[in-house]
Symmetry: D2
Subunit: 360 residues, 4 copies
């Protein structure tokens, strides 16, 4: 019962098999391997973007920070959701890679940037000219950190606001496949057709060992990206092992299949929890994470049964009245099984109705 | 006949097997995996350094740049050999990670920093106080970029000079195992006992997929290193795959075995070339790279036979008189076979004696 | 009727005379001038801080950014008021000089950081360890951007919170003399005795041409400051002209006298406005700036009479109903005269009662 | 007898008078003062460059570092003379402002970059593509650090080489007026007509208190420059005092007059020294600095007489044989008098012939 994060999960067998196959004889290093050429072709095809530049890096933080550094000068600011990964979980990587840009935090329900909040923040920025940092880039996370998804229309609405100020749009797609699987739209519809300029396309959380693609729909800054990647220490010598992961990930829709599995388990989990007495969802469950609250007794039972997940926000504690609801984040992944979810729900159901153990 | 670089080679079967084994079920992310604890223990044991802090990163550039950033403030300079990887092959990664430090280039025969050169450079630095960049750190590459090796005495001599100025010493050990295998000394003798403070311990070039360890013999800056690693995008979520590589690499002396194989092939190659008419070594062959010159006719024959290696320096060309010697770099790796080397030497021998083909 | 900013004002005659006197013959450059030694002595005496390191720079932005860079590493965050100069008016200078630190914005009435807001922000920071930026430093602005003042007790309360997390405290004292003049306390009481580690002591806005002192009460980072200052291009060769300004500024309490004059004019202005029909203060008037609102008709009259000041916030406009109140910022300076303020108030009084001009 | 540096000299009376005049009433801040508009016009006129963008900063280090940051990305290198100010005397300011660019040091006699040296360095750079830092910008110092001057033809020759690689050319003109005064050419001939893109135009060393202009002949990066200046803390609030200095400096050819005086004194000094027994020039004397060697006895006499100058290079000492020549740098400035030089020469002449004092 591992729901702590999708990054504790193993790699998918197809990905591991591809990595093994890649380990034959010599291969050109630093991205000149034949598999990388195929990855680029495949990404262009999937995204209907024949000009796109495609690069691989090992982590989502690297993908985001390198992408943003190509979009936002040091004296500007990046507009992102207050709870976004670039703000909360990267120890200042965007600030480091940009050379000291700011992040301007926008609120919005369920992890999605509120269009009015973006508009207000943009209008406020640079009102005193040279004295202020300037407008740099907009960064959207899809799927969001709240387990929800921006639709193509949502993205287009925010991109249009960015465009009023001639700003580029970055999408942190660490869980892009989960968003796609929920929406059922095409990759193009959710990215460049909706105004996205650069995508961080996640593989790691969804069945790879450690690989993310950065897709620059406009290749004008491709060379700059390559230099920044090298300078950041993210250009792999034995690059074939990155290529192999991404190639297998995109082959025959594996990425969407895996994400679909994770989303389905999250839905199962979400519906199960929502039906518990005293429980309710904190955010709608759209991608592979469930944010829900239920009485403390259920959390105690889950913890006792060895379930792994985070109380969210983190300051809550298992000490206290049984019936007080505590909120939690539970993340499913490609390898989560129906039985695992059902077992967890059974623990909760039992815990909810169990008589409180006598205390000494 | 691949002698272009050791980073075109495959990963060793033991390493791949360990990676596969690591892909079982869930594992804690971000370095909290059980295998990482074992890696730390193993490194401490191998280096007889029970206090050392040990971290894994995916590339040598990351290892070097992160290590140097912990040793050298932005307003100081790093003393390194003119041909070192940190100067020549990292697109300014040390400058980026340190926040704008300088590199001061020291000459010295066969890729080794000349002690007098280091002494002069140190004396020259900061002679005008606040107007100059300050003395920061000394970085040694072992094995060197010229295929040679610093002995423990060589390292101790340079470290002692650094110590006169209270400077820390970094060792770029991207081919550390090759140096060890040549010297037959212990890891401790070649590092902290000789004055090295931080080691970049290479795995990628010598049989891993992509992993390097950074060993801080003094753990005082360990937390700073962790923050810099995360901020640089080098903290792996599915860290177990880095741990598995390094664990198997250090298990039962695999790293020294693999490096010994590569060195032996380089020796075979070196001796074979040296016995050719008109040939001579450019640098002594100590680790796994051969720097040698032989007549152009031999190069033409090798190229025709499909051999992969670089003319070194790169401005030389196959056009020109047959008997003019051209210098080259040939790198062996753990997977290079005796037969492969012998085959290459045979091509050279034949090429050297072959009548020049008639030209139209 | 110039109330746009205190930085449009001329330099005080005493300061100009000192600059002229300094222009005799040769003087040692780069801070080795005899006058600088006297400045250091004088600052130590005034602040009762015999160990303090004292440096001069030409702008407040340089003073703040250099000071903060000595206190906050690149991977940490600076806690400051949402409206502080370091956040709003320095085009990211703190981010640049620190190498990419964040600023965490705290709210609080009347430009003063709310202790609870600081406490909450500190507790929230770094809750996920290495994934988050760390706690760096607290920066207080005194007098604040809202024309109010932190008392020694206010400063001590916030410093104590910072101390719970072992954080250093910076004071942006661009208008420090105005705060002192309002409070009537000693310089020591308002700084190190209340927990301040580094002070940016402003001269420019209060009668100098362009000079700010940075006072490091703990000299441990003095050499680092010197290197950062040089590297930032802020070490003056003809340093005597900075020294002369600061020496005369601190001589015979000139700085407090000038600030007292500015404060008195602000009080006069504030009381005059507050007595107008339909007017009210936005913030209490403590230092040399008045934040007040009064009916639009009065603003129109003031503008027509050539008065210089900003509507605050800036999106307000003179177009609209006469009696709707608009808020404004008016800044007095050492050279503002009683007659100038009285003249301005008369314009407002007349404007408030004047019949609206007929519109075509 | 102050020959230590031109930056120990006072400001010219015309400049001080202008600063005093500027201190009348209120003036718009941050470069919006009326005098700055006149400075821009004047610079454009003097340089026959009607489109040029012109900015003022307080120090030469700021001027150089900001200019270079606009020309050279973080992953590139700046080609400069090994003894240039940007390399030797700015504590890494170019590295700081560019975000971590390198400096590639070119040799060349008498402080001038050797064209072949530049050509070789350019050819060597970036030979391994993404692995190397890229070509960034060429920086020339005119007058040089060796007291010599690049002619328009010299500049054009080096610029042409830069142009082959599409590189911009920066001129560090901290002593530009001295170069002009020596050459007798126009400002345009020595800058944009010879291929210079950005000029740091010095005022401080030649009669100002502390002001340098940055002239961007192509204004495309003007806004970037403004943001970098602000972010670096170099935008003056009471900017009028910078404007006043520069306006008076450029008025009626004052800058060329002052530089001509300094050059004439250097010539007088140079000729006097060259005629001493056992003396010789180290570099030709073209601008306002003399590099010469003469017997130690003369240095002892000079030191005893209170003369201020540096032995150059700095490791030489007054202890040793009387007749051994020691080399020195002597810098004249606008205020150096004929009598001062003559007095110094007399000391040397006397010292050269004086019997060595008996030693106990």
């Amino acid at each position: 019962m591992w729901f702590a994060s999708d990054n504790t999960s193993p790699a998918a067998p197809e990905v591991m098999a591809a990595v093994l196959r890649a380990n034959q004889g010599h291969a050109m290093s630093y991205g000149a391997d034949a598999a990388m050429a195929r990855v680029t072709e495949r990404v262009r095809e999937v995204f209907e973007a024949p000009e796109a530049a495609v690069y691989l890096v090992p982590t989502g933080t690297a993908a985001n920070a390198l992408a943003l550094a190509c979009l936002c000068p040091p004296w500007a600011t990046i507009y992102c959701h207050r709870t976004s990964h670039v703000e909360e979980d990267e120890c200042g990587a965007p600030e480091f890679y940009t050379g000291g840009a700011k992040l301007t935090l926008i609120d919005g329900a369920n992890g999605r940037i509120a269009p009015d909040g973006l508009r207000d923040a943009l209008a406020f920025t640079a009102r005193a000219g040279v004295h202020n940092v300037q407008r740099g880039a907009v960064s959207l996370t899809n799927a969001t950190e709240a387990g929800t998804v921006y639709s193509p229309e949502d993205v287009a609405r925010l991109s249009a606001i960015a465009r009023e100020y001639h700003l580029p749009v970055h999408m942190d797609g660490s869980r892009f496949a989960n968003a796609l699987a929920f929406l059922g739209c095409t990759s193009a519809e959710l990215t460049w057709r909706a105004g996205v300029d650069v995508l961080s396309l996640g593989g790691t959380k969804n069945g790879c060992m450690g690989v993310e693609a950065v897709v620059l729909f406009d290749p004008a800054r491709a060379w700059e990206f390559e230099l920044r990647r090298k300078r950041g220490g993210h250009l792999f010598s034995k690059h074939r092992f990155l290529s192999a992961q991404m190639e297998s990930y995109l082959c025959d829709g594996l990425w969407r299949t895996l994400a679909g599995q994770a989303n389905a388990r999250a839905r199962q989990l979400s519906e199960g929890i929502a039906s518990l007495p005293g429980a309710k969802l904190v955010h709608p469950t759209e991608a592979n994470a469930v944010f829900a609250a239920w009485p403390r007794a259920g959390h105690r039972a889950a913890r006792a049964a060895g379930a792994q997940y985070y109380l969210w926000p983190g300051h809550q504690t298992l000490e206290g009245p049984d019936d007080e609801p505590l909120s939690a984040r539970l993340v499913c992944n490609w390898s989560t099984t129906e039985a695992e979810v059902e077992g967890f729900l059974n623990v909760l159901r039992a815990g909810a109705t169990a008589p409180e153990p006598a205390r000494p």
